[in-house]
């Protein structure tokens, strides 16, 4: 009995050895004859990331002129017009530079002052239900108004902008939104802003006067949003690779991506778990996550989504407010907003990875200068959250080679000329 068991154990080991040799041989043949092929499920996953899978831009019911070409034309001019700032030197394009995919290459935005947040790209942003890192706006037009009134961004106020519209864009404005009121009775500088004189002047205006100015201000935002809705992602080398994949999981044309880039893509959807949040054709789930990103040295920790929720709910210019064109039922972002829970503190919006190699530095305050540092952050399982908790569980255990391959893959997401 015992001898028989020993013999069986020996035979078992022999079988293991034989099976291992067989598998190694099969692996070697596959390696020599073929680059790694994708499974049916993986092909489906890769196709879900390609630009071909991007749906048409959803309408913005809160903005009547969202898809009006005239509004986009006016918005484009406003976007690049530095007169719309306290010092006459700052336009939206000062931070959202077209040649940098509408980012600025700096850790912090620089307007009239320094903005302690990294400038987000505008390419494809119109698809998101929430805007800015903490989602403090629920439409692109409401978002556009925030920097205009911020003391360190454009540094202006509502009557300042209304006067500028009347002086420089009256015909274009009136063609879209109807006649401008007589603005001569309004102070040059008034608005609910930090500047005490402008705030006092605003407080002295009647609710009807404030409403007349608010309407012009909101319409400016709607024109700016109409322009930004035209900034859509363009195909990258990655998209060409996915288009070349047959149902058999093999590319019909070799060499679109290098072996390292393909290995990086495999890590992206597998071991690296990047696809958990960076999913869909824009490589973002538009949701808010806390991965324990360190604070920028010398700056307070951003409270993230917990602040964004409070701001957007009380924003006069939100989808449910008096300047929105939407029926309340259409304000789905606000109707189903998550307002409590321990996942909100410190959570920031997942950014798109399209063009990511060209849009550093990274994270909400540009903490990481390079993609290699970002990958190291995730490879370590995120950082210690100074507010809220880090959602990530554990280190990814990527080898240095795998980290480099992942980085190589990220470079394939840059749009082709």
């Amino acid at each position: 009995m015992q001898r028989s068991a020993t013999r069986n154990a020996r035979l078992f080991l022999l079988m293991v050895g034989a099976a291992m040799a067989l598998l190694l041989a099969a692996g070697a043949i596959a390696f020599l004859t073929d680059s790694p092929r994708w499974s049916v499920d993986e092909v489906a996953l890769l196709r879900s990331l390609a630009l071909d899978a991007l749906e048409p831009l959803p309408p913005d019911p809160s903005n009547r002129v969202a898809d009006h070409p005239g509004a986009a034309a006016l918005g484009e001019r406003l976007f690049f017009d530095a007169r719309f700032s306290a010092n006459g030197a700052v336009s939206c394009a000062s931070c959202h530079m077209p040649e940098r995919y509408f980012t600025d290459g700096r850790p912090f935005g620089v307007g009239v002052g320094v903005i302690p947040l990294n400038t987000m790209t505008l390419v494809g942003a119109a698809y998101s239900p929430w805007f800015t890192w903490d989602g403090k706006a629920d439409s692109q037009w409401a978002q556009a108004l925030l920097p205009l009134e911020n003391a360190v961004e454009h540094g202006g106020d509502r009557t300042f902008y209304a006067h500028l519209i009347a002086e420089h864009y009256a015909a274009e404005y009136e063609a879209l939104f109807g006649p401008l009121p007589d603005l001569s009775r309004f102070p040059r500088r008034a608005g609910p802003v930090d500047d005490p004189d402008a705030a006092a002047a605003w407080g002295a205006m009647t609710p009807e006067e404030q409403d007349a100015i608010n309407r012009i201000f909101a319409n400016m935002g709607k024109a700016l949003a109409a322009y930004q809705r035209t900034l859509l992602p363009k195909p990258a080398r990655f998209d060409r690779y996915v288009a070349s994949l047959g149902d058999d999981g093999r590319p019909s044309r070799p060499g679109v991506l290098s072996e390292d880039e393909i290995a990086g893509l495999r890590i992206f959807i597998g071991k690296g778990q990047c696809i958990n949040c960076h999913n869909g054709p824009r490589f973002t789930n538009d949701a808010f996550h806390n991965t324990g990103v360190p604070a920028a040295p010398g700056y307070p920790v951003h409270r993230g989504r917990i602040d964004g929720v409070a701001i957007v709910q009380s924003d006069l210019f939100n989808c449910l407010g008096p300047y929105s064109d939407a029926a309340p039922e259409a304000c789905t972002a606000l109707r189903f907003i998550v307002t409590e829970g321990d996942t909100l503190p410190g959570a920031m919006k997942t950014p798109t990875l399209r063009n990511v190699a060209e849009t550093g530095p990274y994270m909400h305050t540009g903490q990481f200068a390079t993609l290699a540092e970002v990958i190291e952050h995730y490879n370590a399982g995120g950082g210690f959250a100074l507010i809220g908790h880090n959602e990530l569980h554990q280190p990814l255990n990527l080898t240095p080679t795998e980290a480099k391959q992942l980085e190589a893959f990220l470079h394939t997401l840059t749009e082709e000329p």
């Binding site: 079988m15 293991v16 993986e42 890590i267 959807i269 696809i275 869909g280 996550h289 189903f336």
Partner: protein, 147 residues
């Protein structure tokens, strides 16, 4: 020799287990193997038989959509006027849904309209409905495996 076949099969299985690519099990790596994915389930204390249909089928990630929830007693009588709370969780991750869905309308015949459903990640989800009708509370959990 035939007595050794089980050993050979075992050896191959062990090796396949060792060699299988982690990428091939991207989204379901650590979900329990015996999860029940039925869309009709008995509530935990057995008070209600509950089923759902999604207007988005198959359910895709990152899409706001609507479900219809049907609630009946175990013997098939529709449950009217229930107060229903809904939330979703990813047991393998430390977060739930990006939205707070709500039952927005009673459609009659034990059917309830659930608006605001949205999932932001592929993988294993639990969608929990807390149901209270005629003073009786119970809960039902549906498992989803999203890609």
């Amino acid at each position: 020799m035939h007595r050794l076949y089980p050993l050979l099969i075992l050896a191959v299985l062990i090796l396949v287990g060792c060699f299988s690519s982690p990428a091939s099990s991207t989204t379901s790596a650590s979900a329990p193997a015996n999860l029940d994915f039925s869309t009709t389930r008995l509530s935990e204390a057995g008070r209600y038989r509950v089923s759902f249909t999604s207007e988005l089928n198959p359910i895709a990630i990152n899409r706001l959509h609507t479900w219809t929830l049907h609630v009946e007693t175990p013997d098939g009588a529709p449950v009217e006027n229930a107060v229903i709370q809904v939330h979703g969780d990813m047991p393998e991750h430390r977060h739930g849904m990006p939205t707070a869905p709500k039952v927005t309308q009673y459609l009659g015949d034990g059917n309830y309209r659930v608006e605001g459903m949205r999932f932001q990640m592929g993988g294993w989800w639990e969608v929990v409905f807390e149901i209270e009708a005629n003073g009786e509370k119970d809960r039902v959990v549906f498992n989803l495996l999203l890609r």
